[in-house]
């Protein structure tokens, strides 16, 4: 069974869509951040796949993925600090833009 780039990119697409669903539907800020992580990983997987199949020698995609990982790890870190700051003041970690059911 031959596994081509489409298979990897397909997995990435599914992860991306699931992450997007999570971001759009969850109220809990931590859940939203986790969904964002899922989307990030999907994008990185996409990049590594391209790197392996299109530019194996230059490894540009891997470099890109390294930067993306670093940047988003930093972002999620900020986000969690912000969630904590909000929690301290309000005792809730729900996003205000999404109305309660």
């Amino acid at each position: 069974m031959a596994v081509g780039p489409s298979a990897f990119m397909g997995v990435a697409a599914v992860l991306f869509s699931l992450g997007l669903y999570g971001v759009l539907t969850r109220k809990n800020a931590v859940m939203v951040l986790m969904s964002l992580e899922l989307m990030t990983v999907a994008a990185c997987l996409n990049m590594v796949t391209v790197s392996r199949f299109v530019t194996p020698a230059e490894m540009t995609g891997q470099v890109f993925a390294v930067f993306a990982m670093a940047v988003f790890a930093a972002q999620i870190g900020i986000g969690l600090a912000l969630v904590l700051a909000v929690y301290r003041q309000t005792g809730s970690i729900e996003l205000s833009s999404k109305k309660a059911t």
Partner: protein, 166 residues
Amino acid sequence: MSETVSGPVFAILAFACIGGAIGMLSARNTIHAALWLSEVMLAVAGLYLLLSAEYLAVVQVLIYASAMSVVVLFIIMLTLREREGPVRMADFSIGGGILAGLTGVILYMALADRGDRISAMPVEPSGTAALGELLFGRWTLPLEVAALILLVSLVAAVWWSREVDS
């Protein structure tokens, strides 16, 4: 790593990824969701190995599967009101579902359209040392900028998490 990707291994890892993501979204408890997420991260690390990206696989485990998950669990722990922090849906979950589903369908169509135009696995690329040379050679500029980003995030995190003196 061989020149072809092992089908069964890929299938298992793909199943683990997607299953884990679904598990995360269907979990009724944030702790479970966090654990599912780290499972997804481990599976993606496995996929990186299949793609001969050994360094990225290790970094994925180091940063996402462990460090980020630990921090997320920490935050869950610090913000727990009851022991089981329930996951709650926002009210427009149907709209979100439609949007996400649409994205998925479009992506699927795009990929199918692209087909296997690039399907042959090229020879194995150069390894970790070469990646290091690239990062510190050709891509030094983004590396420096990434360092600044980490600094900014450090300042920001300290700014928000320090006790506010009243």
